[in-house]
Symmetry: C2
Subunit: 241 residues, 2 copies
């Protein structure tokens, strides 16, 4: 009856203890949840507690599946790298393929922009990062480069891609912190402030900067990435036999 449902339980009635929920976590589930949170709320919001919340449990539950947060971040990063599409190697077109690879890796890291903040902290050991490394290393060697120089070139190219993506992720975090959603809106606001600041600098001490502000702010992040990529590709080409 409606009345009986509104009455509190009598104290002599032993409440039926609900059977404890025994949920099944797994490393995969945790990694997926972590990536989802990083994508939607940013890496700064990615705490063990936040992930545990997704499963209605506490952070301690996660430690049966990941050693610590650092390992979790590495797993998330490697998951992301798995999205990089790798073609069959064509050594005669090594430069085109290397450019395409760099852009693809950059695109993937930029899509999950905050995850790039994990990248520089990570030693390449996950399956997907090894897969990508084998592609690039193999491409350069088969194009005729010595393994030693191929190793160095691959390493430097990777640092460049990841470094740029990392910088982009920091801008993304600032954008999020400023409550903005539109990257263009953020860019214009950010650049507007920089330009004003640079224009106000004393031209006696900073003659070039204060004079060429428009040039300093003309290019967005993607322009800059591509410019630097061409620098490096040209440099590698000069060392190709």
């Amino acid at each position: 009856m409606a009345d009986s449902q509104d009455l509190p339980s009598p104290p002599w009635r032993k409440s039926r203890k609900p059977a404890p929920i025994r949920r099944q976590l797994s490393q995969d589930l945790i990694v997926e949840a972590g990536l989802r949170i990083a994508d939607t709320e940013g890496l700064d919001a990615l705490s063990m507690r936040r992930i545990a919340q997704e499963f209605d449990t506490g952070p301690a539950s996660l430690y049966a599946h990941v050693a610590n947060k650092e390992e979790l971040l590495e797993l998330i990063y490697d998951r992301v790298l798995g999205e990089i599409k790798l073609p069959e190697r064509e050594p005669s077109r090594w430069k085109d393929q290397l450019r395409a690879y760099a852009r693809e890796a950059h695109r993937v890291l930029t899509t999950h922009s905050d995850v790039a903040r994990v990248a520089l902290a990570t030693i390449p050991s996950g399956e997907n990062s090894l897969r990508a490394g084998e592609f690039v290393f193999g491409l350069l060697i088969e194009a005729g480069m010595s393994p030693r120089e191929a190793s160095l070139s691959m390493d430097r190219l990777s640092l460049y891609i990841v470094g740029d993506a990392y910088e982009g992720s920091l801008h993304h975090a600032r954008m999020r912190a400023a409550g903005l959603d539109d990257p263009r809106e953020y860019f214009e606001s950010f650049v507007g402030q920089i330009a004003s600041y640079y224009r106000a600098l004393p031209s006696s001490r900073f003659p070039h900067i204060s004079r060429f502000v428009d040039d300093l702010i003309a290019d967005d992040g993607e322009d800059r990435f591509r410019y630097g990529l061409e620098l490096i590709l040209d440099g590698i080409e000069a060392r190709m036999p």
Copy 2:
């Protein structure tokens, strides 16, 4: 008398409250202490509480001088950049000067290795980073490059320097966490583990990596930095009129 000194104060006697110490903090003092701690204990040990400890006070005292930790880190970083020695510009020798600048900046960031972890997060606005920017930008323009390309080249070169120093700082942090003091000892240990791991990879899936492990681990951080620097300098040179 000795006896009277052992007696508790009578309850009607109002204890003389010791005059509270009124210390004078300043932003400079805080920045210096922060840099000292980062250098000796690492950036991970650099908390507001740790700095406050240097002045026998609590973390709240710092906020009268720095807005937040982020601002403090930026101030520390700019302090470090002040150590970069800049020569008079000689545009005819732009490549030598740019190389020397890059190495000098890298050296400074490497000396305060953990501070490089601040660098990528920082928009160039401190006096010393502007000073360095004016040097490089001015050098490239006076060597004949268009302001637009000079801007891009400067930006990419800076990203490269800072990115590499940042990566180095992460290795430094791992070394510290492993309780090692000698960079060479750490490098050999680190590289040894990587080499073993790579050698154990299935050669059917990672034929180039597993075959050329010695080449992959042959070069240390400084070798790698210099190789990449030459790539970029050559790329810039190809765009110089």
